[in-house]
Symmetry: C2
Subunit: 250 residues, 2 copies
Amino acid sequence: MGEEDIASEDRTPFERQRRTVRRRAALTRNDVLATALTLVDADGVEAFSMRRLGKALGRDPMRLYRHASSKDALLDGVVELVMSKLAVPALHEVVDWEAGLRYTAHSFRSIAVEHPHVVPLLVTRPLATPLAMRPLGTLRPLENLLELLVGAGFDGRGALHAYRLYFGFLFGHILNELQEQVHNPEETTDLLRLGLHRLPALEFPRLRGLAGELATYDGLQELEEGLDIVLEGLRRKLADQKPNHEVRRG
Amino acid sequence: MGEEDIASEDRTPFERQRRTVRRRAALTRNDVLATALTLVDADGVEAFSMRRLGKALGRDPMRLYRHASSKDALLDGVVELVMSKLAVPALHEVVDWEAGLRYTAHSFRSIAVEHPHVVPLLVTRPLATPLAMRPLGTLRPLENLLELLVGAGFDGRGALHAYRLYFGFLFGHILNELQEQVHNPEETTDLLRLGLHRLPALEFPRLRGLAGELATYDGLQELEEGLDIVLEGLRRKLADQKPNHEVRRG
DNA sequence: AGAGCAGGCGCTACAGCGTAGACTACTACA
DNA sequence: TGTAGTAGTCTACGCTGTAGCGCCTGCTCT
């Protein structure tokens, strides 16, 4: 069996291994994660497999288990890699805690828009891992934001709640934005382009009526509008809380 | 009767089929989806497979493709089934549009808490499906919320933006809440219980300092606090927009 | 120089997956 | 009675994640 298999005849496992051992540099965890990221970016998480990643690296897929204990762990690593790009400024680098949050929000949005296929992971993996077990790189932004908020005058509880509201909003916004993809740009009317003509007109009058609005989604502007509301709310919370202590400035 | 279990030789496919045809009632799409939901609830999406679902229904797995064209489509059906439980009151059933949104928010939270393993699907599947291609049951809540908001005086654009902010917030909140699971309740100190002792104290002072707060997460209350802020923001938007037209009442 | 050994490395194998397609038996109508 | 269509089942294919194994390499010790 397998006489047709050329490689196993003129190149024994031994030879193949010697070659590769000579030639290849050692594989770092970062190589692995970076390549995994490009694969996910290209074809989505669904299409990602250990075997494909192995092939992309020119290595035996089993080699990957040296750098991550399982596929899930590897995907956690990808999440960590992506989240480590999130820029959270310190309070002194920025005019205002609000400016800091705005800056971070834009950074987050950029990352998500740049890696849309990673977003399901970003959103989903934490559900499978208790907070403190998450990769440290993932917790760094959280710590930095808490620092920023505490520096701004929030007490511990307030900072945590503010963080949650803020980040929850960010995630929600990203999920909204990423599903606003128009798929048939060659169609002319909004109704057709969005596929809304499929909806029974009597049951979905509002939705159909909003075809025009749906067609002109502007993610950045909606982010800004949302931030206005969220930050206004947080500002008021901060003001309500401050009177007890000394006040820095509004 | 022992042969019932064993014999595939003394019971031909023919005989087996005649029996089952006689005995079994036809399988409805709802049966399939409902059973799928229980499986997902029990073991999570990862552990869900067509073959397992087939086994749970006592049917050939291939039968399932009669009710859904693929596994993904079937999971979309599960999402639809779950989302169809979301209660969105009409404006006249409720004192206020704000009350309507609050009610819906609680309904959504209940559903998510009841089906935590479905949440990844809820959040993830829409990313793979353009809005208008989604199952109708999934769009119903959207339509109803738009109706509610328009009835409250929002114009089309405003209603859509309000909807997005509101639902984005809801999703974000749910994602927050579901990852606040304490895993080692037998441990005594919050630091240990949450696994936070693992974090380098110097690099994560804020996070460690908030162990107590993290340990006492109250999802319902945080939802309420978030709603306060979001609804306040929407109320202001509505007020800003109204002066152009006739005013109903603040 | 030679022996021994630890560990890196690739291969094979296994159990399970989604689903295309062929086959079989039954039903409804001519 | 014949025939077309359909519903139900089984098999098979090409994937998947990953456990286990045996080989080769290079280091250490004599």
